[in-house]
Structures are given as C-alpha cells and as structure tokens.
C-alpha cells in the first residue's frame, strides 16, 4: 500500500498534465526569479561605493514584489486546478478511497511538484544568475565583472518561502476535500448555472470610478500632483475595471438581449447568450488579465523611457565633462575667473585627463513671479493681495555666452533681449519691476527690454536650469539672453537690492581620456572632502562657493538608478506577462470543456459546423482581446501621468516617452496575439 500513493499521485499529475505542467512551470520560474533576486541582493563582493548602493535596494524591492506575486498567483492557479479536479477526486471517493487516502495522494502530489519545482527553480536560477548579472551590469553601465557564487541564504529563503506557500495551498485543498461529500463532488460541473442578473448599481459605480480615475489623469498638471494622486487614480481605475468587466459587460449584454428584434438573429442569438455565461464565469479572470497587461505595459514603457532618456537628462544638467559653478557677490570682491580656469585645468592635467577646452560665462538665476506678463520679485499687488500666475526661476545669460554655447551668431542692440519661454506666453516687452515685499524697503529699479526674438531652442547651461522644469506646464521655464555682461550685472544688482542672492559663473571643462579615466579623476580630486586632499583654490579672488559636477559620474549614477528601474521593470513585466499567459491558457482550456457539449447539441439541432466555429471564434476573440483593448485605453490615459512622473527624474522628453510606450504596446500586442493563437489551438482541439 505504501508505494501506491506516490504512484497514484504521479499518475494523476501525468493524467492532468495539461493543467499541471503550466503549474509546475509557474513554480519553477517564480522560484528561479526569486532566487536570482535574492542572490543579486545579497551579492557580497559588490563594491560598496555609493554609486552602486541602489542595486541591492532594487533587488530587495524585486524580492518583495516577486514574493507577493508568487503567493497570489500560486493560490489562483491551485484553486483553479482543484475546481477542475473535483470530479476526479469524487470518483476516487466513490470507488472506495477514504478521504484520508485521497489526502495522502494530494500530499504526495504536492511533494512531487514542490520538490521538483522549487529545486528545479533554484537550479535554473543558478544557471541564469550569471546571465542576469551580466545583463544587469550592462544595463547599469558597470564594467567590473564578478565571479559566480552560490547564495546559500538565497537557497534557504527560497525553499522556506515556496515550501510555505505550497503547504498553505495543500492545507486549503485538504480543508476543501474534508467539506465535500462524494456525490456533490461527482456532480460538480454539471449543475445548471443561473443566468447572471444585470447589476446596474455596480456597473454605474464602475463607470464612475473609471471616469474619476481618467479625469484625475487628465486634470493633473504638475509632477508632484501626479505623484500624490497617482495611487488614487490607479485604485479608481482598477476598481472601475473590475466593476465594468463583471457588472458592466453583463448589463450591456442584458440590454441587447431585451431587444427582441436584435436578439433573435442567428449570429446575435448564440453569441449574446454564450457571452452572458462566458462573462459571468470569466469576468474576474479577464479583469485580472487586463490589470496585469496594464501593469506590464505601464511598467515597461515607463522604465524604458526613463532608461533611454538618461543620456538626455545628464546632458542638460552637466553639458561638459566637468561643469563647475561659482557663486559670488560682485559687491564683496571680484573672483579671479582666469585663475580658477587655470587651476581646474591643472587639476585635470595632474590626473592624466588634460583639458582640451575651457569656457566660462557669467549667469544669473532669479526667482521671479509672473503676473500680467511682467516678471517681478514680489508677488503682492498694490492692494496687498498675493496674486501671480507662476513662480519661475529665470536664467539670464549674455549674448556672447549664448552664441558660444548654441553656435549661433545673433546680435542684440542695447535694450533688446532674446527670450526662450516654455509653458508661458510673454508679451513683446520684457518687464522687470524689481519691487520689494515691503513698500518701505528699498526696491530695485525697474528694467524693461524689447524682445527681439522668441527662441525655439536653448542650449544646456548646466545645473538645475529652467530647461529641466520646462516641460512641466505649471512651472515652465524662461531663459533670457541680454546684450552683454554689464547688463547681466546690472540686472543682478536690481535683483539683489530687492531680494538678495548671489551671482553665478559657470565653467565648462572638456577633458581628454576615456569615460572611466574621467570618472576616476573626478573621484580622486573632488569627492574627498578632507582638508588636505581637496583641491586648493587659494589666490583665485573672493567668492562664496565653487563646486564641480562630473558628467561621467552623473551618467554612472543615473544609469545605476534608471538601469535598476529598467531591469526591475522589464523583469517584472515579463513575469506579469507570463502570469497573463497562464491565465489565458487555463481560461481557454476550461472554456473548451464547457463549450464542447454545447457545440454538440447545437449541431444536432441543425447548426452548421461553420456557423458554430464562427460564433465561437467571435466570442473568444471578444473575450480575449477585450482586456488588451482596455489595457491600451488605460495606457493612453496613464501617459500624461507617466510623463509628469518621469519629470520627477528630470526626464522631460515627451517624444521619447511616447515612442517607448508605442513600441512597448506594439511588442506586447504581438506577443499577446501569438500567445492567444497558440492557446486557441488547444481550445479547438478540445472542442472538436
């Protein structure tokens, strides 16, 4: 008797291979992913430099998400499998196996699946670990290789975690088994189903929730608002999706059914009544697929946009290899610009990356309030009320600097300026009142300029320039090109009188050598803040602060973070896709069994094979492509939110984000169709 249970368990697994093989694959792949994430999170020989600290954090987030996903998904699959098998177990019971015996078979099944799945998963994980490490290192632009190692904690945690999940599943199955009697079990599946009722209230709630979610997505105007409202919008859309799939679909079908002229037509008759039951059974599953698809799409398109936009973001912030910014107050003494330039070039030369070009220019960033087309230091009007359209950081640079940076050769007369403005419309005259908060205080003298031309593009000037917030409609950005440095200093004087603040001088240094050498040079000189090691700048005049940012370092840092997001996004996206595939597959199979009988009866009553096929095809198409369509709609509305959220990472390239979303959706749709076609084959095999 002892050898019988494992044998029976093995046989029933093989007999139900159509259902259990995908389940096995799910255990295997989630265990593999789980182990890889754990191994990467705990990789001990990762360099502990600041710039790589993100990786383990990302992997820990990944472990958590994969864990949650695995629990939900394995529970879902298990309950589906057990429902399918109720009859078979009932038969065992009728044939004389006690519930204890059946429980023994179930325990053996879990043992077989668990051992092969989890151990196989960890082994697969080990095999893929090196590949994944290579991929992620490439993605985060990290060139040092590291050797393969076996993560024992990873193995132990994976085993315990999946063991616990499978054990919980088994306990649920045993409880279910204990509750049922054999006759009820045998009859399960053949009991008539009540026709679903139209749930108006739920359908309306769903419509309302979806509408609100979309409305939020359309109404939000700034990044921070997008961030704080994002989860509310997501929650509303998810709720709306579930309500509409379950109640909305049935309500619509019921309305169609009520219309007798429409309903009693060959095509509509079979399709509508079939769809009613199909939606009743599958609505939740389809909503799941839809949500999974949307999540995959949003995640992948967002992280891909972020990743591909990295270079652009870094370019705006640090256009040159070394971008140095000097803050000073002209009235406190003149800095020695040439001396600073020479000093930086000396440092570069001493580190083996001699400068090939240096360019310094004066500029002034002023925090101004836009009101009635004027840019003022004070947001309070004559009546004492605070009114303004926007608070803007306005950058002023001289014509020489602008021409040098942009490669143009514009000219300006005194009293003329060039303006680059995004998000806000300015009149033809630039008015700068320089008023003070307190009327008793001294204010600056008002200045005004004729705007010679509105510029379409503006060169990167480094630092947190108005360009970064330019695509944000609420904040916008304004840059002003004035005729010469004297005008620049005059404007600064007025600003300083009214408001205080400092003047800036920016130095771009172009270096020779490889990216890695430039990075090392920067590390060696500017990141060691101890007194004796930090570069000596004495004898370069009077100034407040001088600091240097490295493009190579910013790139490494950004790639590290965005690459981590990218890797996680794509990795989880693939996992979600796999889940969606599995749900589709199971749905196809269960639908197939349901439809087989109906198909046979209809044929006897005089329906042509062709017609049956056409009707079934139409239903299946609606059922499986509805989630994809709804996901596309969600993605469309989410796009605005995504663009705003990406601005939090200083990524403002809307075209790139749109391209990424479109390509992601395209690839996803192709994959989805492929999956559908493959699974549809097993469906038709069952039906005919």
């Amino acid at each position: 008797m002892k050898g019988l249970y494992p044998k029976l368990a093995w046989q029933s697994l093989r007999h139900n291979g159509k259902f259990y093989f995908p389940y096995f694959l799910t255990i295997l792949s989630t265990a593999a992913v789980f182990y890889i994430m754990l191994a990467l999170a705990g990789a001990s020989d990762l360099p502990n430099k600041i710039r790589y600290a993100y990786l383990s954090v990302f992997m820990e987030i990944g472990v958590f998400l994969v864990g949650v996903f695995a629990v939900i998904f394995l529970f879902y699959t298990n309950s589906f499998l057990m429902k399918r098998r109720t009859r078979e177990l009932g038969l065992y019971n009728v044939l004389g196996m006690g519930k204890g015996n059946i429980a023994a078979v179930l325990i053996w099944e879990t043992l077989i699946l668990g051992l092969t799945g989890v151990i196989g998963g960890i082994l697969t994980g080990m095999l893929l670990q090196r590949l994944m490490t290579l991929i992620i290192y490439r993605v985060i632009h990290f060139s040092t290789g590291f050797s393969f190692y076996i993560s024992w904690p990873g193995i132990v945690v994976s085993c315990i975690f999946f063991g616990a999940v499978l054990l919980l599943n088994l306990i649920c199955n045993l409880i279910r088994l204990g509750r049922q009697n054999p006759i009820a079990m045998m009859r399960e599946g053949s009991a008539g189903e009540k026709e679903p009722k139209a749930k108006w209230l739920l359908a309306l709630i769903g419509l309302g929730a979806l509408g609100c979610g979309y409305y939020i997505a359309l109404r939000v105007t700034s990044s921070l608002e997008a961030f704080s409202n994002y989860f509310l919008a997501v929650f509303l859309v998810v709720m709306g999706t579930y309500c509409l799939f379950t109640a909305g679909s049935i309500t619509v079908l019921k309305i169609l059914k009520k219309n007798k002229r429409y309903y009693y037509q060959t095509g509509h008759f079979i399709t509508i009544s079939g769809m009613l039951y199909r939606m009743k059974r599958n609505a939740v599953g389809l909503a799941n697929i839809c949500i999974l698809c949307t999540m995959t799409l949003v995640m992948i398109s967002g992280t891909v946009s972020l990743y591909l936009g990295t270079e652009g973001v870094v370019e705006v912030r640090t256009p040159a290899d070394w971008t140095s910014t000097l803050r000073f107050r002209p009235d406190e003494g003149e800095p020695n610009f040439d001396g600073l330039t020479r000093r930086v070039e000396e440092i570069a030369a001493s580190q083996g990356v001699p400068a090939t070009e240096s360019f310094g220019f004066l500029n002034s960033s002023q925090d101004l309030f836009l009101r009635d087309g004027a840019l003022d230091t004070c947001p309070i009007d004559e009546q004492g009320t605070v009114t303004y359209d926007a608070e803007l950081e306005v950058l002023f640079i001289s014509l020489d600097a602008y021409n040098h940076l942009s490669g143009q050769s514009d000219t300006l007369d005194q009293g003329e300026v060039l303006v680059w403005s995004q998000g806000w419309q300015l009149p033809d005259t630039l008015t700068l009142p320089y008023r003070s908060y307190n009327p008793q205080d001294i204010a600056g003298e008002p200045r005004s300029f004729q705007i010679k031309e509105f510029l379409d593009d503006f060169p990167a000037t480094g630092g947190w320039s108005p360009m970064i917030s330019a695509n944000n409609a609420e904040t916008g950005g304004i840059c002003v090109v004035v005729p010469d440095d004297a005008t620049l200093l005059d404007l600064y004087d007025q600003f300083q009188t009214a408001n205080g603040g400092s003047m800036s001088w920016t130095l771009f240094t172009t270096l020779s050598g490889t990216e890695e050498e430039k990075l090392d040079a920067y590390y060696a000189t500017f990141l060691d803040y101890s007194e004796e090691n930090y570069p000596d700048f004495t004898g370069t005049g009077t100034w407040l602060a001088f600091f240097t940012e490295s493009k190579a370092m910013n790139l490494a840092e950004c790639y590290n973070m965005n690459g981590g997001f990218f890797f996680l996004g794509v990795f989880l996206g693939v996992l979600f896709l796999m889940a969606a595939v599995l749900i589709i597959y199971y749905k196809q199979i269960s639908e197939g069994y349901e439809d087989r009988q109906r198909f046979q009866i209809m044929q006897k009553v005089g329906l042509e094979r062709r017609q049956i096929k056409r009707s079934i095809n139409r239903q299946i198409l609606v059922v499986f492509f509805l989630p994809l369509l709804v996901a596309a709609l969600h993605l469309l509305f989410d796009f605005r939110l995504m663009v705003l959220l990406l601005q939090l990472f200083a990524m403002a390239d809307v075209t790139l984000a749109a391209t990424c979303s479109l390509v992601t959706f395209g690839v996803f749709a192709v994959l989805y169709v492929l999956v559908y076609r493959i699974t549809a084959r097993s469906y038709f095999k069952i039906v005919s």
Binding site: E195, Y264, Q265, L276, R598, Q603, K604, V605, E608, Q611
Partner: protein, 253 residues
Amino acid sequence: MSLLEVTNLKKIYTTRFGGNAVQALCDVNFSVEQGEYVAIMGESGSGKTTLLNILAALDQPTGGSVRLSGRNMAEIRERDLAAFRRENLGFVFQEFNLLDTFSIEDNIFLPLVLAGKQYPEMAGRLQKLASRLGISDILKKYPYEVSGGQKQRAAVARALITEPQILLADEPTGALDSKATDSLLELFETVNAMGQTILMVTHSVKAASHASRVLFIKDGEVFHQLYRSGSTQEFYGRITDALTVLTAGGEKA
C-alpha cells in the same frame, strides 16, 4: 410513394488503423408512410442508434440509401446538410439536449432562429404549440428549473416548431419516470393523430406499444415487424412475445 424509404442500408465501422471492422448494420430495408408512428426496437448494440444517426444525416452509410420524400440523403451536399436537417427533421433525445444557457422559450426558438425567421412569426408558432404541449407556464424558465418531463416536452416543442416531415425520437422516455413517460407517450399519440409522422427508437416495450408499427432489429438487420391491432394492452403482449423469441435466439420468423 413512402415518406421515408430505407434500402439495403449498410454501415461498417473500422477502427482508426483499419484493424477491426464492426458491422453495425448489414442490410436494412423498410419504409415509413406519411402519418405513420413507427417504433424500432432492439437490444443495446443491435444497431438502433447507428440507424437513427444515419436517418438523421449525422452519419454516412457505408452502402444503401435513405430517401426522404424521394430525395436521396446521400446526395445532399455537406454544407446544405444542416439546413436540410433543420427544415425536414425534428429530434427528441433521451437526455433532452436542452442548452442550459437558454430559457425554455429560447431553446424552442433555436432552430427557427438558425433558419433566420422573424421574431413575430416565431412567437406566433410557439404560442399555438405551447398550449397544445402544456408548457405555456414554463417558457420563461431555464432547463435546470423544470422537471424531466417538462424538459422533454420542451424538447418535443423544439422538434415540432419547424413543422418537420418526420419526427425522430431516440429513447425519448429513457430518462423519465413512469408518470412523465405516460404523459409523453400520450403526447406523441396526440401529435401523431394530427398527422405528424414519428419514428422512435426505443427498447421500452411500453413506449413501443403506443406506436402503430414496431420494427425489431437484431444484429444489424430488420428481424421482424408487428402492426398494431386491438388495444395497447394486447399490442404490449404481442411485442413482449416477439422480444422473447428475439432474445431466445430464434430463427427469423
């Protein structure tokens, strides 16, 4: 001319690899006249169901021919078969074969909807039929909400609503209790009295005794036939006798 003529009908089943050949029907000959009520009897495995499947054009004979109103069913093209079946034949099955996803009313409408009829016409036909079959009260219900007898009446309604030339019934009383059986057989007699031709396959003597003629099939051949005379009770006795001879393995009468 007879309504249904079956001549030299043969059916041989071969397994997939052509190994064993099983002869289900060897040489079946009979005809059914307009307005007749014929029962075909035989034991399990005698070829009854095969015969009915061929008559219903659900299966192709290996040899011989079936003519309905003089039209050879073998000559009907595959894609016209469904329409032919819909227009000329009505079916009643042992297990009712009602679709759970339709109400009783919609189940009855099914063949008409398939034929592309307009709703007012369908409703008109159903109204007449429903009161005759006593199912007016259950039209809005679903198959799983009504009794077996009611389900079978609904199935009969579905078969008759197309006004078929012949009603084919396969063990119609097989899944019914005795009370429902009596009422169904009564219904068949009424329908027959109104001119509907019925061909019923059964192994219930009681069901057969309501027919006007009984054909006995054994080993794929028509072995014997009895015409009704006298009361149902007397006919019942004669059928039982014939069956005794049949199962005792007697020679062809």
